[in-house]
Amino acid sequence: MTSPSRGFSRRDMLKAAGLVGLGSTVLPSLSACGVGGGERHPNGASEITGSFDWKKLSGQTVRILQTPHPYQQSFQPLLKEFTELTGIQVVADLVPEGSYFTKLNTELAGGSGSHDVFMVGAYFIWQYGPPGWMEDLKPWIANSAATSDEYDFEDIYEGLRTSTSWDFTPGSPLGTGGQWAIPWGFENNVVAYNKAYFDAKGIKPAEDWGNFQQLARDLTDRNEGRYGVAFRGSKSWATIHPGFITQYSRMGCKDYEVKDGRLVAGMASEQAIEFQKAWVDLAREAGPASWTTYEYPDCTRDLGNGNAMMCYDADSATYPKNKPGASKEAGNLAWYAGPAGPDGSYATNLWTWSLAMNAASKNKLAAWLFIQWATGKEAMSKAVGTAFADPTRKSVFDSTFKQTLGAFPGYLDAFEKVVGSSKIQFTPQTQFFQTTQDWSVALQDIYGGDDAASRLRDYAASAEAKVNV
């Protein structure tokens, strides 16, 4: 058991008794801290001195907030190795994906340090960073008393390192400012397809956007329960960031451009409107029938069940479906980079689950030791052996991970084709979640019959207003 139950103690009773004084005692303390995370916490790296030692905090406990994920699952059995190495107990709380950010956002906003380490994606840094909820890890990496000599931060792909670093100035590129999280696992958004079916029909994956659309339509036969391509469509920012923004970028479209210190929305450019209209039409004619509810588990499930012939989403999300016994089509799947842009662009959006440290943590060294261990070469190599894809370290990718990819045709080719141009394709800005969810709403409205051009113009205007506060 990873979670020693605290249960119900006499201490709890005392705490409850304290409630009686709630009105008188809490009110003043709340007006000090009444609006959650108003408190700024100083960086803790400078406090760590002396020589590096894994065992420094033996006997302590580190609490981690995670969401169930292949990354997390492949690390689960390894946690005891961390405890062996450091003597630190790990309490890992899991919150399902649908509620993960509800939990995490409340916790950070509440200024609570109840979890020392949490899983985040790059975009979250843009929201959690400015209020000071995340610890800058740069000083920690630099401090030889806190970081092992073997850590080798530069081994992590550069695109990933920069994607989790920013100076919080809207429009300023990624890679500036602090290192707010360490990339742990990542994924490129490429196309997975049902190779068995393709082979049987003698079909080859489409290499450009026009052919891709045509192929998807041709593959669709609703009576057979078969359709061309699965991609996300639910009302969420997460609909935008995988296949959509990847292809959008390959088509040469931009979300924002910086002009005179202002972000100028690009979603309503002629080129962008044309692409988005085509994307929604594709969803309608060759996508899942209930597109507006589709999240990635739905997409990958349809791929695994043989309903969807292709799936334009994260490679690491489609990857588990091909493992023996995991799905009906396991063993039949293959990958390729997806359609290139008109200029041959393989611009690709990446997602990285990274580990971040809670700035309000009362146990920062333990937190850092955990992050260091989890993103280190040894642990990552071991995790790759189960279901961990894709590792963020080049050394791990090249050695251990490549060997596991024999049964995953095209996976490596696709990876290598896009990895050079794989980065966060969004312009960093603090209103990311709101403006990007609004984007998905706009696409849903177009799917529901709204005129694409006017709807996107409305959207672009409102987004521009929001990001330039």
């Binding site: 409850a16 303390s29 169930p68 994920h69 588990p297």
Partner: protein, 288 residues
């Protein structure tokens, strides 16, 4: 009066057939999703979304939910989550009954100034959106150490249980003829004794109904335990959703199995309590 009729009961049977058909129709609708859940719970990972009715059933999922693998998948031991839920919800209902019954009685029996306001405030618990309080509540809880404790959960679940209990019971107390307690007073019993001896047994069906419903609502509550607890006081509903997983692998079959296991405690409670629910209040024998 051997063949005493209940209100609404009919002797004749032509409409009865239609009524039976209607009732069967409702229950087909009401039970189908539950049947579907049961089927889902009997499917293996590969078949969970690729088959309808033809599959090779397995009981493995139920075992998995309760096993170490289930714990690894969710970070919560499902058995202890059930225990926590029972503590949290049972405690919340008990507290609500202890506090709510006197209040409901006061409101049902006495016309006093402010009675309506108090009752209305009770109700306003219910209509204030949970999300409006969740951030402030989280702050308060972490500050005074109620976060992730059974006590904290019991306290916050009052929002769910108390209004329901008070409001249901008030109408029962209002309906109960006051002559009965007055008779007890004149028999020489104190007000407290008259209340426990006469009033309380008579509203037992109401208490049963209110306690059961509020227990179920507390049991099903998701947002409060999600935000205000981690592992120590987390409830079974939160644990169930954790089987939905992430990263491309959703265990609907495990979720369904967990949900079915998780529904057992309230179901057992419902079946135990049912005879009180069914019995109703036989004030007919009391009122003229």
């Amino acid at each position: 009066m051997a063949t005493e009729l209940k209100p609404g009961q009919k002797r004749l049977t032509p409409g009865a057939i239609f009524a039976d058909i209607a009732i069967v129709a409702w229950f087909v609708f009401a039970l189908f999703p539950i049947l579907w859940m049961l089927l889902l719970a009997l499917k293996n990972d590969a078949q969970q979304t690729s088959t309808y009715f033809a599959f090779s059933p397995t009981l493995e999922n139920f075992g998995t939910v309760l096993s170490q693998r289930g714990t690894d998948l969710t970070s919560v031991d499902f058995k202890s989550a059930i225990l926590m839920s029972i503590l949290n919800c049972g405690g919340a209902v008990l507290v609500s009954l202890l506090i709510g019954i006197p209040a409901a009685y006061a409101a049902g029996r006495y016309r006093f100034k402010g009675s309506e306001d108090l009752m209305f405030n009770m109700l306003s618990f219910r209509f204030a959106p949970e999300l409006m309080v969740i951030v402030p509540l989280f702050v308060i809880y972490t500050q005074i150490g109620l976060f992730d404790t059974v006590f904290g959960m019991i306290w916050v679940l009052q929002l769910v249980t108390m209004p329901l209990i008070v409001w249901i019971l008030r109408s029962y107390f209002e309906d109960m003829p006051e002559d009965l307690e007055q008779a007890a007073l004149l028999d020489g019993y104190t007000r407290r004794k008259a209340f426990t001896m006469v009033a309380l047994p008579l509203v037992r069906p109401g208490i049963a109904a209110a306690a059961l419903l509020s227990f179920i609502f507390a049991w099903n509550n998701y947002v409060f335990p999600l935000i205000l607890s981690d592992t120590a006081a987390s409830t079974v509903t939160v644990a169930i959703t954790k089987f939905l997983g992430g990263g491309g692998q959703a265990y609907y079959n495990l979720t369904a199995a967990a949900a079915l296991i998780g529904a057992l405690p309230p179901l057992v409670l419902a079946l135990t309590i049912q005879r009180y629910l069914v019995q109703g209040l036989s004030f007919g024998a009391v009122k003229g």
